[in-house]
Subunit: 469 residues, 2 copies
């Protein structure tokens, strides 16, 4: 490993890599970011660079990404393309993806266009969450072997690197060490060396076992079986599941019996984090946005769902309109519409969130759908009894109308049971249909609780109108 004065992960000559921890507090990063913003605004990028050049690359990245959009290019020009590429490579790939996305394609093509093509390609392959294919396309001259970046964005192919840590089963541990030492881009990230027999993947040696073995030991004696393999088109989601379930750190990508790539630990982890983010966002239909991305992107992601939702709220409106004559007779019923709908919506969303997350974590293996449905309906009943009594009591205290209180209480009870059942049924059904339960569930569930809640409440009120007036 060459010494790089800007790289605090590397041992510095003279001090043997020993000394104080490198991390700084979030507040300190905030302070430095503010100062750097001020300096860059005043056109003093070089002074700003002096402030951050000895920071950990992750902190350096946070500061650069915090600059206003117009100032980022000036800062990057002062830093040199090599330093920016190095910074991104050293970061957690998910954070590197975010920082790169904030820098924007224009600044990124400035950086990657000036790197040696091989280095540019290798760096882009270490940045799976940056849409490396888009960056490569934006360059003036094409990268060799750009096809390597062309895998679907959510597949194992887009996550893997092509530098392979391999050794033959018949070789000695000494060869395994030598092969490991010759890796250029990925050496520091490797957790397992793969063992081949006749060129085919047959096992692995962990770094710990390699560190402990004698040079003269046959590789075969320290090898252990491969736990799981994927192919280039395996969905990223499945890679994340394999990592989590089998507790593996690194995944081999194979084509038949041959090893074609490796998903390194930090990219594999990144998939988990990215999927958690996407899933949270999908429940609210804001998937793929960042807090300071372009407005047009946010409009594109949110407006379609808002429009769909408008359609569904009109369903609820139509139900209310059905009961116009009842409302004319007992206009105070209108005041309780948000109470019935609001509670149902919250109850349904609680169930829904729990089940969507359980599906994502693979917790439903061997658990019967019917049992889940019954459980949530029963919970809805329990909550409904309490909320029904409470809402009836409050309504009575407020309006002194026993008929109204009764109708409201019963409608609340019924809607909570509906909320629990629908909140469980919708994601389970979407999953059975092969759809992502996170995407559409929330809209369907809140529509159902609105529509059925109003039907129950206003229907009961109409049936017992004599009690209310």
């Amino acid at each position: 490993m060459e010494f790089d004065p800007r790289n605090p992960d590397m041992a510095r000559p003279g001090d043997g890599g020993l000394g104080q921890p490198i991390a700084i507090s979030l507040d300190r990063v905030d302070e430095i970011a503010t100062e750097v913003q001020r300096l860059v605004k005043a056109g003093r990028e070089s002074t700003a660079w002096e402030l951050i050049r000895y920071l950990h690359p992750a902190d350096m990245g946070s500061v650069v990404a915090s600059l206003p959009r117009g100032s980022r290019e000036a800062m990057v020009r002062v830093m040199s393309p090599e330093t920016v590429a190095w910074m991104l490579r050293q970061m957690n790939p998910v954070e590197a993806g975010r920082v790169g996305t904030r820098l924007g394609v224009k600044v990124l093509s400035l950086v990657f266009g000036q790197l040696h093509p091989a280095q540019a390609l290798a760096t882009l392959r270490r940045l799976p969450f940056l849409r490396p294919h888009k960056v490569a396309e934006s360059l003036d001259r094409p990268l060799e072997d750009e096809g390597a970046l062309a895998h679907g964005p959510d597949t194992a192919g887009s996550l893997m690197v092509a530098e392979l840590p391999i050794v033959d089963a018949g070789a000695l541990v000494q060869s395994a060490r030598q092969n490991l030492g010759e890796l250029a881009e990925t050496r520091d990230k490797i957790t397992h060396v793969y063992v081949l027999i006749g060129g085919e993947l047959a096992g692995q040696v962990s770094m710990v076992d390699l560190a402990l073995a004698d040079d003269a030991t046959p590789v075969r004696d320290v090898a252990s079986p491969i736990v799981a393999t994927v192919t280039t088109d395996t969905p990223a989601e499945e890679c994340a599941r394999l990592r989590r379930h089998y507790n593996v750190t690194q995944l081999p990508v194979v084509d038949g019996p041959r090893l074609t790539g490796v998903i390194l630990a930090d990219s594999l982890l990144g998939v988990t984090v990215e999927q958690d983010t996407r899933q949270m966002q999908q429940v609210a239909n804001v998937a793929g946005e960042t807090v300071d991305g372009p407005l047009a992107g946010s409009v594109r992601s949110r407006l379609p769902w808002l429009t769909v939702n408008l359609g569904t709220t009109f369903l609820a409106a139509a139900v209310v309109a059905l009961f116009e004559s009842t409302l004319t007779q007992v206009v105070v019923l209108a005041a309780f519409l948000p109470v019935v709908a609001g509670q149902g919506g919250i109850g349904g969303t609680q169930t829904l969130t729990l089940i969507v997350r359980a599906i994502a974590l693979g917790e439903l293996a061997g658990v019967e759908a019917r049992r889940l449905l019954l459980r949530e309906a029963l919970l809805g009943l329990l909550h409904g009894v309490w909320l029904g009594v409470l809402v009836a009591a409050i309504a009575f205290a407020w309006k002194q109308n026993p008929g109204l209180s009764l109708v409201l209480g019963v409608a609340m009870l019924g809607n909570m049971v509906i909320a629990g059942s629908v909140g469980a049924a919708v994601p389970l059904l979407l999953r059975r249909m092969g759809l992502d339960p996170a995407v559409a569930s929330a809209v369907v569930v809140t529509t159902a609780t609105d529509v059925f809640g109003f039907l129950l409440f206003l229907g009961l009120a109409t049936a017992s109108i004599g009690l209310l007036t």
Copy 2:
């Protein structure tokens, strides 16, 4: 490492640990789970055990956890306490926590009560997500050094193991290897050995550097600086942030300059996953639940929020009641209440989800709160213009009342701006107050969009009542 015939992670004698990957498909796990459930129901636990004893511990765990509550004890009795402890130890700690939680304290105390106390303690320390303290308390005889399990459940202390991979800076690499080889519980999980000078933590050596170094090299020459340290009372959340931001695999826990524990890679990761789960669940107020936990736990977690929410929906009801005379004159206004409230609620939740997640990922460093607020308010305006025009058009087509359409369109526009502003302001404010923005934001935001939406809509309608009738 002793050979264990039940442990597929270990090399089997004779085949040198080579062969087919061990992973099986989710469908296959489901099939085996169903068959095992059938066998255990018929009292044939031993036959069931034969079906799963050669599975990967993670799959074994899934199958055992899928058994109905009453059958788990019988299965665990057949498996022997040592095997169950081994299974839990081999799993991803988060999944081990879930499987353990499903087994329940009674079954767990059966398992851990029969283990050698030292082994029980070491195993419990590897299972931070299982509330090891509770399990230890349930045992008939106390474990020695039970205090080691007494750290707060969300602190570094509860995540760390006490077995320390250390070497003196002045020693040779040979000693580092020897120390590593002597670790009993954690050897296979270690990614860095810590370097001490005069007993104080001064650096680290990665497994890769250790694997590559000559026996005769001084440790000092292959050491690199520590990136970050934590203390036993550092919140788990901060540990997760350090891992993510600095891309570290393992965290040293220190007391002053002395190393007191190590958070291993899989526990450190587990914190990230657990926090993502909790955060998703907190937005919907179902934190800490599992899909088939006891009903009482779910009621305890959800009912308080449902009750709080009932209070807030009455706020909305009170606003509607203010306008009873307007509603009496134009009763069809009631039908549009869910439209105004529903759209505002969805819009506010979109903004909220985006910001809560960005806070959790530490993406807001150096980003001004004012800029975020403005951005979301502006987005609300853009969405509001489109939705306002659309809702006015649909309402006109339905009711042919131009005044009603105008009032509805304007109220929609206004409520979307409010939704964006409140959706951004509430989590930012909660964060500034040192509270968790995931917990209460959703209730506050939907209350605000209901209340302000109704005020705007019914207020405008009252002001322009002449246009409507």
